[in-house]
Symmetry: C2
Subunit: 236 residues, 2 copies
DNA sequence: CGCTGGGTTGACACTCTTCAAATTTCGTGG
DNA sequence: CCACGAAATTTGAAGAGTGTCAACCCAGCG
């Protein structure tokens, strides 16, 4: 991997140029993965870290009847399995939503970075802490909000993250999820997700159809989902 | 702080003796905090890491009407705000449940540990990753389970963690939470938590009264909550 | 063309919340 | 040790929210 600047988004401008180059040089492979493709299975040993260059990826757990609970949705610029670096394994599955481009960095090369580039090491730690912060917001979403609020919060978060990643600055972004997927993220059924989306559209907050999300009223959507973007801005 | 061995639980035996001593020597203060006491407020700068020696502590977010969503419950042996070390601030509040004893280590001393003790640094990272893994289980609990399953999962997790921390090896443990608190952790009302507890007791799975939890049927409780303890055992 | 997967809608059952009141437990001061 | 007040628990009844099941529609695609 040469100096191709694939590293987008999340905190890119907080990383020193030298560290950024080191990270990009450590990339061993960039591959394209089709939609709805299982990337990593729970329990399998992880030997490399995957960085999402383009597309959408989700992590999920299955319940006893095989119904998924989506735990996180990743956007371009995210490491999707960095927590598998210190632990060596994952406790959940990871799959693409739409087609995705993924860059991988072997754990051995991360070892070298960890020992020789302390500031970058801390940045990688921060990245996993941001994941945890988003997990906490998902807990809040599922625990305290009704169906409408959950969906509103979900889209508000996604839009805020895409904005920070400088992917979709205008409130319109593609999202290759079905209404059933949305339900699996928000803890509701696909049928109910449909009714919720209709209400949010009628209220002039959000339109989502054909895999394209359009935020019609950002502050209204955030209010509806009790969404406060502060947790996305880690000081580091 | 001398060599008093206050470091309990979580992965203690995975830490080299030298590193363990370094950590214990870094402790600057040990203090006792009364029950229902706010320890840290969202947004405030964090200058030290807190380690829970004894007692129970919870982290939570408030919704617009001031209702809490409990995000995590900490047991003896947990760092409760290690994620505030790389970030410098917290995005949620932390409070004691019952009376607690807390040891603090200044971030400056952690800096020294991070640079001179790479294996310990990785252990600290692992500790925050275990937090994230528990967050994911809470997402699953709230997203996929009904009220009975959520409460069962909550107690199953707590019992498993206390067992790993070698605090309550017999399935009986104190838990200074009211039924309303339990509801705030499981995303249900306190009234409903009461009815759920009665059902679980009638099914012979769990008894919880007067701040004392008794697991009557461990495997039954785990089945009821679809709880699989694998995620608690990080390989590291 | 017909098939298939996703989206949409309606009717009904069930879970959980809400509100209210009664009861028990617990801490505290007398 | 008792009395008292506050907090927590318990129970009932009614209503809102969500799930379930079934049917139908629509677009894309072989």
């Amino acid at each position: 991997m040469t100096t191709e600047r694939f590293l987008l988004g999340r905190g890119r401008d907080r990383i020193a140029d030298g560290d950024l180059c080191a990270l990009e040089d450590a990339v061993e492979q960039v591959r394209d993965v089709p939609a709805r493709h299982l990337l990593m299975r729970r329990g399998e040993p992880v030997r490399e870290a995957s960085f999402l260059v383009d597309g959408y990826v989700c992590r999920y757990l299955d319940d006893r009847q095989g119904h998924r609970q989506i735990l996180a949705v990743h956007v371009p610029g995210d490491f999707i399995d960095l927590h598998g670096y210190p632990t060596g394994a994952l406790d959940h599955d990871i799959a693409t939503l739409g087609p995705a481009r993924i860059a991988t960095i072997g754990h051995a090369r991360l070892d070298a970075i960890m020992t020789h580039r302390a500031p970058l090491a801390r940045t990688l730690w921060l990245s996993t802490l941001l994941d945890a912060a988003m997990h906490r917001e998902w807990i809040f979403r599922l625990g305290r909000l009704g169906a409408d609020g959950r969906v509103a919060h979900f889209f508000a978060e996604l839009e805020a993250r895409l904005m920070l990643a400088e992917v979709a600055p205008d409130g319109v972004f593609p999202l290759p999820m079905t209404q059933a997927d949305l339900g699996e993220a928000c803890g509701i059924t696909g049928v109910h997700a449909n009714r919720v989306l209709r209400r949010l559209r009628e209220e002039g907050l959000l339109a989502f159809s054909g895999g394209l999300a359009t935020v019609l009223d950002r502050s209204g959507l955030q209010r509806r989902g009790e969404f406060h973007p502060a947790y996305l801005q880690h000081r580091g």
